[in-house]
């Protein structure tokens, strides 16, 4: 049921994609003729006929969707490669960045939330308040550049750009550590915004939960403080935070586009940036489609996580 709905959403993304391409000034024929250094009207018409651009809108749309179902998102004249291939090359880097940042932000956010909920006037709580203001107000690309100036240029701890050092040789662990080192700053930059969101919500729900009747019951049972907080309270405070995290997937990807641009991270964001400058429409739309796919998958994962922590969701099926 959920998956069917996800498929319909994706179909809608395709329709939107195609309509935008159709509405936008200039078409594939123009692009091709530009890359050939100009063409006369006859040749343009020839190209349009070849690509089926003279067909009615719905026919073209149908064919576009048909192609996508066969994993064909068109051809990038700029990169001279099929768009699908281009995107699949870049997708893993973005997925890595997005999921690591999300998971770390969630994990640390919840921990901060718990600590600051237990001591509403403690250091952690003030940190959460300040982080929340900063995370909301500071442009992510600016934070990234500041970190870059601080920890790659002034103090040279982390690499300036990219995802791996091509000169490095060695086994899996060496490469793993190399990527990890490259990831630190991008992940901190991207994760801090969401860490701010999650820790603030986590603190609020945790405070509410700590005042709830069932926590009082747990105390009345004579359970230890640790069991009361980490067994009874924590699991109940997770659902709202996970729900919020699920809603943030599209924002995380948006943030990733900017972070990738700052750190030259070889993912979809950088690709999008480059193809926009190159006016490579098929690639841009392909990226939009794939990123929507990532959001939808992220949402499905969120649902699964919610089912794990909350039996009420589970029983609704």
């Amino acid at each position: 049921m959920r998956i069917l709905y996800a498929a319909i959403l994706l179909l809608a993304v395709l329709v939107l994609n195609f309509s935008m391409m159709h509405l936008a000034p200039g078409d594939v024929a123009d692009t091709i003729s530009q890359s050939m250094g100009g063409a006369d009207q006859e040749l343009l018409d020839q190209i349009r006929a070849d690509y089926g651009l003279d067909q009615p809108f719905l026919v073209q749309l149908g064919r576009y969707i048909g192609n996508v179902l066969q994993f064909d998102l068109g051809f990038s004249f700029f990169y001279n490669k099929p768009v699908t291939e281009l995107i699949l090359q870049r997708l893993p880097a973005t997925l890595l960045l997005v999921f690591v940042a999300q998971i770390l932000a969630l994990f640390i956010g919840v921990i901060l939330g718990v600590i600051s909920a237990r001591k509403p006037n403690g250091i952690a709580s003030h940190f959460v308040t300040i982080l929340a203001l900063f995370g909301y107000s500071a442009p992510v690309f600016w934070t990234g550049i500041l970190l870059l100036i601080g920890f790659s240029l002034k103090i040279q701890i982390f690499p300036v750009a990219g995802m791996r050092d091509v000169t490095i040789e060695g086994g899996f662990w060496i490469h793993f550590m190399d990527i990890a080192r490259h990831m630190v700053l991008p992940v901190i930059t991207l994760g801090s915004i969401f860490l701010a969101l999650y820790s603030r919500l986590s603190r609020a729900t945790m405070m509410e939960v700590l005042g709830s009747d069932y926590v009082r019951t747990a105390k009345a049972k004579g359970l230890s403080e640790r069991e009361v907080v980490y067994k009874h309270a924590l699991k109940n405070s997770l659902s709202p935070v996970i729900t919020l995290a699920g809603l943030q997937f599209s924002a995380v990807i948006s943030g990733a586009v900017l972070v990738e641009a700052v750190f030259s991270w070889p993912g979809l964001g950088t690709l999008a940036f480059q193809s926009i400058i190159a006016r490579d429409t098929p690639t841009i739309l392909g990226i939009l489609f794939f990123s929507a796919l990532v959001v939808i998958v992220g949402n499905l994962l969120t649902d699964l996580a919610l089912r794990l922590v909350d039996p009420r969701v589970r029983s609704k099926g």
């Binding site: 442009p139 690309f141 600016w142 924002a251 006016r279």
Partner: protein, 294 residues
């Protein structure tokens, strides 16, 4: 022998105009008051600054990378020798104008969608909420990038691109407020006395749903400014107009030589958005009747 008269439990506050009461609450929030002053200064700069500080932000006025305070340029010059202070003052206009216009647009769409969904329920709600979910699935920044890339980077198009992707939160808030308020007695009473749907929606329910929408709208201005900064950082901006994000974007290759060309415009964005969000917090305290009773 008679019972002593009942003492009133608490002095009842005298009824005042709700705006006066909200203002009273707002004033008690010191951070929000400071933020309001800062914000007013920024807006005044955006409006009048360009008439007072007349240096054209595109003119190459001095040697490149002249640090702040040296050679008479308060904030220094960028990689092309352009005056950074001029860029900030002129950039404020674009940031705030786009921020306001995009927020207005998303509030308009969001309130319309949310109100219709919350008021009519049934298939109308079903369809509108699906559309809302659809927009939540598209990564906002990428979608705006695509719109701007395909249809041109004019200021109205940028505003549209930001507004069209940012309304979902407003729609959700409006809908849930409508769902709550439509069940209240006074709405039922108005309905029973024959009020038309339009009257019910906009004259009776909407005014009562406004407080959270206003707070959200204030926050929307902040996020729209951030959004615009992101787009112009990526170069997706009107090349004939200077904006804060664009200054950062165009100078970022030179951070090793002149980090101030990036830090200073960033601080401008940061302070503006921070001020807006603090004012938003203050509005939240002032307009939220549940908090007020604490």
């Amino acid at each position: 022998m008679s019972a002593p008269p009942l003492q009133p439990q608490e002095e009842l506050p005298t009824a005042r105009h709700p705006f006066a009461e909200a203002w009273e609450m707002f004033r008690r929030n010191h951070a929000a008051m400071v933020a309001l002053v800062v914000l007013t200064l920024i807006v005044l700069t955006a409006i009048f600054g360009p008439y007072i500080y007349k240096t054209d932000p595109f003119d190459m006025v001095w040697a490149p990378f002249s640090p702040p305070g040296v050679d008479g340029f308060l904030l220094g010059t960028d990689y092309l020798g352009r005056d950074l202070l001029a860029a900030l003052i002129h950039g404020a206009r674009v940031s705030i104008l786009i921020g306001l216009a995009a927020a207005l647009m998303s509030v308009f769409i969001g309130v319309t969608v949310g109100a219709l969904a919350g008021f009519y329920r049934g298939w109308v709600e079903e369809v509108l909420m699906r559309v809302t979910e659809f927009f939540q699935v598209l990564p906002t920044l990428l979608f705006s990038m695509v719109i701007v890339a395909l249809f041109g980077a004019s200021l109205p198009m940028i505003t549209f691109a930001i507004g069209i992707v940012s309304w979902t939160a407003v729609a959700r808030i409006t809908r849930s407020e409508f769902l709550r308020i439509r069940e209240l007695e006074y709405v039922t009473a108005s309905r029973a006395s024959g009020a038309k749907n339009g009257t019910l929606m906009f004259k009776i329910i909407l005014p009562n749903a406004l407080p959270p929408i206003i707070v959200q709208a204030a926050l929307m201005v902040g996020s729209a400014i951030l959004f615009e900064a992101g787009l112009s950082f990526l170069g997706l901006t009107d090349p004939n107009v200077v904006s804060w994000g664009q200054v950062i974007g165009s100078n970022r290759q030179y951070i090793l030589d002149a980090s101030y060309t990036v830090t200073i415009p960033g601080i401008a964005i940061f302070i503006t958005v921070l001020a807006i969000s603090l004012v938003g917090d203050g509005l939240n305290d002032a307009l939220n009747p549940k908090l007020r009773q604490r």
